[in-house]
């Protein structure tokens, strides 16, 4: 229990620091959002509206940085992140709410797939090292060393343009109404297949390599020999003794990669015009949409933090040595 309290305190402090930095950085940047908005609309907003906009964004009062900070926290705790400029007057929370499920769904599933398949292949190769299966290593490493955008473009040109098997962009058939119907879900899977595949292919090598090397290390541990000597089945030794221990270091990198799902897929979402968080972040940066950027950064920070909590917890479950009992 003390363990969890200590972890909780640690994460609370990290959260506070992240939010504070997130608050400070945009305020240190030059320029102000109203002039950015006016510039973006290129004369379609009359200069008379400047005062009104300043009031709307809360820039009319001359409040101290501290007061702004306090207000920021108050808004944050009520779940308000301000109003997006690019999608004016949609609140930032709504934009993020729309984008987040797509990113988490697609990239999350792809990352889990990549991890699971990578672990299984790595276990197999590491267990029987020195066989033909080792040749999978250079092949998968080749794909992971190819820059992702290039791999994605090749995939589009081969599978969408030349073969026409998959759509080149988008996240579902625009003629469908988003509902929980089989037709719509099928369309989402169909549109998501190619981006997910490219993510899996480009990231799987790391998992295979890491797991294979850990398997090789763990396989020569005494307890694996003891398990063999006990006459346990090959499967029990391979999974229960060797892989069970080899997977431990992989779990923490997996949790970290879960955190980067939210932020780290910018390139994929741009190449495939997929309407996820990365795509919105890209447009927000291009349009100097500070509230949206700030909101997205906050969500990314929270995601990484949350993934860390999960990693901590899962690691405690998997490895009794990290638990502090009593």
């Amino acid at each position: 229990m003390r363990f969890f309290l200590r972890r909780f305190a640690f994460y609370a402090i990290t959260f506070w620091a992240a939010v504070t930095i997130n608050f400070l950085i945009p305020r240190l940047l030059p320029g102000d959002p109203v002039s950015a908005l006016i510039a973006m609309n290129q004369g379609r907003i009359s200069t008379d509206a400047i005062e009104a906009l300043r009031t709307l964004f809360g820039l009319d009062q001359d409040v101290s940085l501290w007061q702004q900070y306090v207000d920021y926290w108050a808004l944050l705790l009520r779940g308000e992140l301000g109003i997006s400029f690019t999608y004016f007057p949609t609140p930032v929370t709504e934009v993020i709410q729309q984008a987040l499920p797509w990113t988490i769904g697609l990239v999350g599933i792809a990352t889990i797939l990549s991890f699971t398949i990578g672990m299984l292949i790595g276990t197999g190769i590491g267990w029987r090292r020195g066989t033909w299966a080792d040749s999978l290593l250079p092949i998968s490493t080749f794909f992971s060393s190819v820059p992702y955008f290039w791999l994605a473009l090749i995939a589009i040109s081969v599978f969408s343009v030349t073969l026409g098997w998959f759509p080149a962009s988008g996240s579902y058939d625009r003629s469908l109404v988003p509902t929980w119907s089989w037709e719509f879900i099928g369309s989402v899977i169909y549109y998501g297949f190619l981006p997910a595949m490219t993510i899996v292919i480009s990231s799987i090598a790391g998992w295979i390599l890491g797991m294979r090397n850990m398997m090789v290390t763990v396989s020569s541990e005494d307890y694996v020999t003891v398990a063999q000597a006990k006459g346990l089945s090959e499967r029990a030794v391979m999974f229960g003794y060797a892989a069970r221990n080899a997977v431990l270091p992989q779990v923490s990198s997996f949790a970290l990669s879960l955190g980067f799902i939210v932020g780290g897929t910018l390139v994929m979402e741009i190449v495939f015009s997929y309407q996820g968080i990365g795509y919105f972040l890209f447009t927000a940066v291009a349009a100097k949409d500070y509230p949206l950027m700030q909101g997205i950064f906050l969500v990314i920070t929270l995601a990484v933090l949350f993934a860390n909590i999960v990693a901590d917890f899962v690691y405690g479950v998997l490895d009794p040595r990290t638990r502090q009992e009593g």
Binding site: K230, G231, L232, E234, D319
Partner: protein
């Protein structure tokens, strides 16, 4: 001066007519098949373990003791390769099987049931992520699928009690136990299926002397109670003299002397055994000078003809460079007929065969 084991059981030599494990001409190479020059780490090793006997296997580091244990149980990790020999296991009902010729399923069924092993590293022999109860139980359940998990855990609790650990430790993880306790858990685990042979590969090496003593006494006591046979591997000869019925001394991948423990201690016949005994302070008996052994074991990858010990031997003569001695009955009248030694001083026939003049057995190697 008399010599007794910790529990006072008398030294006995089990007759070879009731062997439980017979290793015959076992050879092991290190280096894969495509290597031009594999290293012969075990060369034609033969060893017999009698039922109920404690056989000590001693020798310097790197002489092949552990390799022998791993090879006989087919646990040898690559690049070790068994190149020849037989390992016959005789069951309680008299059925004999060659462990080296079992298929994978038969081998798996035989392991732990017939022959269990306690390994060198007490620290690393237990899976760090499973509770020890589960680790004892999974060995039981792998061989007796009809046993429920609950029954297997009950049996595990009994086994822990057998080695003097409180049954509530079943739910402990290995890192919560001390080194001595872990080694006891390993011994309990090895006894789970009531095996007939227990191979202990330096079971006390990582432990302090007090714990060493407790473990050794425990093994001796359990052996008395449960009647299994033990191959006890160590480089600590004085420890072996305490626990073993019979001692085999290994040097450079071969057995150089095989005799009753007391005979090895008081009447060594091989120069190496004699030198080895003078390298350890005896646990009991009068003080004697420690001389050590000059030089170091030969490089097994460039072992030529002749006796591998000759460079370090005080009694070497011309013939030693020409012929590798084989195990023969010592050339000392009145010796136990079951003992054997591989030294040309005891084998005049082999010396004459290469045209050399045999030399007599020196006084140091013919003590009565």
């Amino acid at each position: 001066m008399t010599l007794t084991s910790p529990l006072g059981h008398t030294q006995k030599l089990t007759s070879a007519s009731d062997p439980v494990l017979e290793i015959k001409n076992l050879s092991v190479d290190y280096g894969y098949g495509y290597d031009d020059d594999p290293v012969h780490v075990l060369r034609q090793v033969s060893l017999t373990l009698g039922r109920g006997e404690v056989l000590g296997l001693a020798g310097e580091s790197g002489c092949g003791k552990s390799t022998l244990a791993y090879a006989a149980t087919r646990l040898l990790p690559p690049p070790g390769l068994i190149t020849g020999g037989e390992v016959h296991f005789t069951d309680r009902d008299g059925r004999t099987t060659d462990i080296l010729r079992l298929n994978d399923a038969q081998l798996r069924a035989s392991r732990w049931q017939d022959l269990a092993i306690v390994f060198q590293g007490a620290m690393n022999s237990l899976n760090p992520v499973f509770r020890i109860g589960r680790q004892i139980a999974d060995g039981i359940r792998a061989h007796r699928p009809e046993v429920s998990q609950k029954e297997a855990l009950e049996r595990s609790a009994e086994l822990l009690e057998l080695v003097g650990i409180s049954p509530d430790r079943l739910r402990s993880y290995p890192h919560q136990l001390s080194g001595g306790m872990r080694q006891r858990v390993m011994i309990a685990m090895a006894l789970a299926l009531d095996p007939q042979v227990l191979i202990m590969d330096e079971p006390t090496t990582a432990l302090d002397v007090v714990m060493q003593r407790q473990i050794v006494e425990q093994i001796a006591e359990l052996r008395e109670r449960l009647g299994f046979s033990v191959i006890f591997i160590t480089h600590d000869v004085s420890l072996l003299i305490e626990i073993a019925d019979r001692i085999a001394i290994m040097y450079a991948g071969e057995i150089v002397e095989d005799a009753a423990a007391l005979d090895v201690y008081q009447r060594p016949r091989h120069p190496y055994s004699s030198a080895l005994l003078h390298s350890f302070p005896p646990l009991r008996g009068p003080r004697r000078e420690l001389t050590g052994i000059p030089g170091s074991p030969p490089d097994l990858s460039r072992l030529g003809a002749g006796c591998p010990f000759r460079d370090r031997c005080a009694f070497a003569f011309d013939a030693c460079a020409k012929v590798n001695p084989e195990l023969v009955f010592p050339n000392v009248p009145g010796d136990d007929p079951r003992r054997s030694v591989a030294c040309l001083r005891h084998d005049p026939a082999a010396v004459r065969a290469v045209g050399e003049e045999p030399l007599p057995v020196p006084a140091e190697l013919s003590a009565r």
